[in-house]
Subunit: 347 residues, 2 copies
């Protein structure tokens, strides 16, 4: 990038900069009385309960700017924030965006991040209503707080899973983990070539999994279908930490156990291909790999068919058991794995 | 600190850690249906409009752990967040806390931060309802989002200042800037002594200004008095960036000018003493030094007396003028300074 096109953040006044950034958002809700531009945003509460969630991403830990395009980064953190609202069966409405920005980022790079948040805003119908912009010495930090609403009778907690309920998962698992493996391999390759050219990995064969890692999509579609079908899962959670960790969250909150089938884990073909290439166990991607942003939910067994009639992109992986049976997995090759608190097999 | 007492963050499970941290908060509101522990917090909206604000603090830029005690850091960022709610004439209710935490911090150090947020929670009557906890390579980042409410007829924006209104400021200015000077001087001294002992500066003579820097207090008291007196300022803003920058914010939003008196700037004796020691102009602390977290507001002149009858800790520094007159200051030694967009004098 030539110097002329690198507008430093200091070259604009704070107010001017925020104006330029905010223009990247295109959603404007009636219930937002005052967006950015005052000390606080002012919002007329809509009917029902309010939902509040937030996500924090730190450069070098949660993302690597070598291979994460800035607008994807913006999209992804917005996805992470709204996903928590969908996991309560809610509708996201507004976000506050906090950025701590090092000098290595230009105004236009910052705008790219906001362009990504703005694109997510359009997809999820959320308005950016403010936030904070601060300096940082070296590393970029982004946190997003998301607000949403849900009718009082429709809120779904982690704590409602009942004995005998089917454990269901939207979409497929392990894709984001597989995508990360590919991106890290390409980065290593590039570093071994002494970074002789710009980082332009050939990712064509891995398009789906790389997309799952870089621009995951929150399951707005599923929550909308639930409303249409008038079906209320007994519990729900989004898959950010890997399946096992989230099954544990549901079982602890609901005071139940879980029994599921390894052979039932929904895993895409491309995810399997990546694991084969890496000589790794693909089920580990599903069990321990995070960032899939799919929804896991529990449902009385008799409602599974009704849901399947109107929404097909989900899989039953097992059922809710008594609490003292713990978390167990029927292995594909026979035998049952029992998991401890940390998600490791006990035997 | 010996190793035995240094509990690493990795030594606890994520859920366990969050439980320990959340115990530092003591406020529990009826309208919070679900605090931390699910995908989102769930809150019953109270009457009136909702207010949303957030603040982000990055280590090395917004704070220096050499001289900032962790519980003070927690208190201060909570103050910064609620201050934005008070600046709208609102009542803060809940906060989400996002932390990106490097390994150098132990569990107990993290708890200290939460203890500070918890203490602020008690003072400002806010409940910690969740947030996010992420790893960081080197530097600590904290962001807090705060939610509050205000009756529709009582919300005060930046945009309402009227020609002839008195410009008023609670408390005094420049104290936080003076405190920062002292802390930085002590740190330099300690570094020159090759850090031979733990950093234990003698701050006794500077207690007030150091406190203004480390544990500033948001003006809840003023907002409560306004309600009691049934007085509604025409505009209001909190002083985080320095007086001039905030006067500009009010004048831009309200499309007015401002004329104020250098001699009227409320500056505490200890702040003056520090400036004298540093051979600096104390008015610069007031005009450009930030983080005072006082409130600036505009009020029809005839209401100033009424307010003064019930609340004495404020000063009239000038009045609102026509927009084309810009922002001007009657200097103590005679003459008038005119400020440009960046807050520099034009002549």
């Amino acid at each position: 990038m030539d110097n002329e096109s690198f507008r430093t953040i200091q070259s604009l006044g704070r107010g001017e900069l925020i104006e330029e950034l905010m223009e990247q958002g295109s959603v404007s809700h009636d219930f937002v009385v005052q967006g950015h531009g005052d000390d606080s945003a002012v919002v007329k509460p809509t009917e029902g309960l309010q939902l509040l969630s937030s996500e924090s991403f730190m450069e070098g830990v949660d993302f690597d700017l070598t291979y994460v395009p800035l607008h994807h980064l913006g999209y992804k953190i917005a996805t992470a924030a709204v996903s928590d609202i969908y996991a309560m069966n809610g509708t996201p409405q507004t976000v506050l965006v906090n950025l701590s920005v090092p000098n290595k980022l230009s105004v236009d790079m910052l705008k790219e991040i906001y362009r990504g948040i703005g694109a997510a805003g359009k997809d999820y119908d959320i308005q950016i209503v403010g936030g904070d912009l601060a300096a940082s010495h070296q590393l970029l930090n982004i946190s997003i707080s998301c607000y949403g609403s849900v009718a009082e009778e429709n809120v779904i907690y982690r704590k409602g899973a009942q004995l005998g309920d089917a454990i269901c998962i939207t979409g497929d698992l392990g894709g984001a983990a597989a995508g990360l493996r590919i991106l890290m391999r390409e980065k290593r390759f590039w570093e071994e070539q002494n970074k002789q050219q710009a980082f332009q990995p050939d990712l064509e064969d891995y398009e789906q999994v790389v997309k799952r890692q870089l621009v995951p999509i929150a399951r707005k579609d599923f929550v909308e279908q639930l409303a249409d079908a008038d079906i209320l899962p007994t519990s729900m959670i989004d898959l950010t930490q890997g399946l096992l960790s989230e099954i544990r969250n549901i079982s602890e909150a609901s005071e139940v156990g879980a029994y599921f089938y390894q052979a039932a884990l929904p895993i895409a073909l491309e995810t399997r291909t990546v694991a084969d290439e890496m000589k790794e166990d693909v089920d580990k991607y599903a069990l321990y790999g995070g960032e899939d942003y799919e929804l896991m939910f529990t449902l009385p067994e008799q409602q599974v068919e009704t849901l399947a009639d109107i929404f097909s992109d989900f899989t039953v992986i097992g059922k809710i058991t008594e609490q003292d049976e713990g978390i167990r997995m029927q292995q594909a090759e026979g035998g049952v794995a029992v998991f401890d608190e940390r998600g490791n097999t006990k035997d």
